[in-house]
């Protein structure tokens, strides 16, 4: 099933059966995308995050009345942008047109990775390290590594200098790198394979 079909299914499950699982799946699917759109339109990240949660809360409350919606994607996007503008009238909205080339797509990291044990070990180390970052640092890492904004964009969206952005990202990645010595990263693969084999041999 394609991702689009899955989300269609989840949305229908949500509006027809009040499915909580369907609802959360739709949220997870749209979260990064709406953040991307909102930040590109010139709203600050915190406002955008709050708005995303507000509109989804509204969807949950109105779940009995959403059956008539033909195109949930347009509905979510339109409602989101309207809420952003309505609640932040003082803001000047950047005239950002979302054309096809500008379409946000999640980095393709999920499928191939994490099937190897060694990737999981690395992943846990990295997750732990990222949790240590301050919210501000994490925000920049998120915008750089997940939303895929350029340094220039991040500096404009967050009203900080480009060198601050770069230095923050550099410091975080440098720390990560030191946490994961190169040999470890490379040898982890072979070590994990052996450890895995031994583990099951003992059992």
């Amino acid at each position: 099933m394609s991702e689009k079909a899955i989300i269609n299914y989840c949305w229908n499950d949500f509006v027809n059966n009040e499915s909580r699982n369907g609802y959360y799946s739709v949220y997870q699917h749209y979260y990064a995308y709406l953040l991307y759109v909102g930040i590109k339109k010139g709203f600050d990240a915190e406002t955008v995050k709050d708005t995303v949660n507000d509109i989804f809360l509204y969807f949950w409350e109105k779940r009995f009345q959403l059956k008539h919606i033909q195109n949930h994607h347009n509905y979510i996007l339109t409602y989101f942008i309207r809420s952003l503008c309505k609640n932040n009238k003082d803001k000047t909205v950047l005239p950002v047109e979302m054309d096809d080339s500008d379409w946000f797509s999640a980095p393709p990291c999920d499928e191939q990775l994490l099937h190897d044990e060694h990737d999981k070990v690395l992943y846990d180390l990295i997750s732990k390290q990222i949790k240590q970052l301050t919210p501000k640092q994490r925000l920049l890492i998120y915008q750089k590594f997940y939303l895929g904004f350029s340094y220039d964009e991040i500096s404009r969206f967050n009203h900080i200098s480009i060198s601050t952005v770069y230095n923050t990202v550099y410091a975080a990645m440098d720390k990560l790198r030191r946490l994961l010595p190169r040999d470890t990263v490379i040898t982890l693969i072979s070590v994990m394979v052996i450890a895995f084999a031994i583990f099951f041999a003992i059992r």
């Binding site: 799946s25 990064a32 990222i130 490379i186 099951f200 059992r203």
Partner: protein
């Protein structure tokens, strides 16, 4: 082009674009570089893993923290109690792949064991138990996928053959159950004075030994109670509860009367729905809410004591019968007591770290 050190590469715009397949120009640039410098392949691949995993990790953390905020705002309702951990289609796909991998490895190793030792390995059932002490609450999942929220000072013991032919748990204290549907393996909760048999449903059981009453509240589905003392069976429908006077006589009263709130007798009653936020009072504790409806001070204090893990003594017996209606969420004990003082004046002081004395 780069003989750069790793950290510089990890923060390099074009390199990140290459790792995350973001930009055609950067992708071909780095692929050409690797063609020309094959000895760099290993290092670049390792760094690429880091970038991709960072991207995944940071998005996961970000999403989870926002999701938690959202969840807190959505009220607990009947059908929502069934919320097992949800998965997106994509995530469940990759988990399926992981699961398939693990199953594959297990199969191979089992086969190897079989040939090596001539024996088939068996998974022996293990009895498990869960405890909470005063002031503590825990949520966990049983091996069959059923969700349990255990309130303070409670204990659950799984039968040794749990999930083989049936699913038997022993409970003392209070717990909320959301049972995974499986007609072939009935789910049975045993308490000191009743057994509760279910097929797949959500319900709350309160059976503290030493308390005057035990009660079972049904949120969804259908359950059958077997009362040990009377050797009698009672069927419960959604939003009904069965209140059992462990000390007093066991009269079953099917009609719903308002006076029952004041003078509870054993029998079927509706669950309380809080007017303010439409929450079912009996299961409000699973959402960290403390709700009292026309509750005598003495039993209210007992609940506070369990909830906060503090001993509270009522020094003046005249206070014991004052009735309170109140609801709290995430407040500390001092704030709760201070709020209650507005209804009827009393004083309280901390005797020591774990004891509070209440007086006129």
């Amino acid at each position: 082009m780069p003989e750069k050190e790793d950290s510089h590469l990890l923060a390099n715009e074009s390199f990140i674009n290459y790792c995350l397949d973001r930009n055609e120009v950067d992708i071909s640039k780095w692929e050409e570089y690797l063609q020309a410098n094959p000895h760099e392949r290993e290092r670049i691949d390792a760094l690429k893993s880091i970038v991709r995993l960072t991207s995944k990790a940071v998005s996961e953390i970000e999403l989870q923290s926002q999701l938690e905020k959202l969840e807190q705002e959505i009220p607990l309702e009947e059908e929502q109690l069934s919320s097992l951990p949800f998965k997106t289609g994509r995530r469940s796909l990759s988990w399926m792949a992981v699961a398939a991998l693990i199953v594959g490895v297990l199969l191979i190793s089992t086969a190897a064991l079989y040939f090596l030792t001539g024996k088939k390995s068996e998974t022996a059932p293990v009895a498990a138990s869960f405890d909470t002490h005063k002031g503590q609450r825990r949520t966990f999942f049983l091996p069959d996928g059923s969700k349990v929220v255990l309130n303070a000072e409670s204990h659950i013991l799984l039968a040794e053959d749990f999930n083989i032919k049936q699913r038997v748990v022993k409970l003392s204290g209070e717990a909320f159950f959301d049972v995974t549907h499986d007609t072939s393996k009935p789910f049975i909760v045993q308490t000191h004075d009743m057994d509760i048999k279910v097929l797949g449903t959500a319900f709350n059981v309160k059976a503290y030994e030493g308390d005057e009453t035990s009660e079972t509240s049904l949120i969804r589905g259908r359950i059958e109670l077997s009362l040990k003392k009377d050797n009698k069976k009672v069927i419960l429908r959604p939003n009904e509860k069965y209140l059992l006077h462990t000390a007093g006589s066991l009269t079953v009263n099917k009609s719903i009367r308002k006076s029952e709130v004041f003078k509870p007798v054993s029998g079927l009653q509706p669950v309380h729905i809080s007017k303010k936020d439409a929450a079912v009072v009996e299961v409000a504790w699973t959402e960290n809410k403390l709700i009292f409806i026309d509750e005598p001070f003495e039993s209210l204090v007992k609940k506070l004591s369990r909830w906060y893990g503090v001993d509270i003594e009522i020094a003046d017996p005249a206070l014991k019968n004052t009735r309170y209606t109140a609801s709290f969420r995430n407040e500390n004990l001092n704030d709760v007591l201070t709020a209650l003082q507005f209804t009827k004046a009393f004083s309280f002081k901390h005797e020591n770290d774990s004891t509070i004395i209440i007086n006129k």
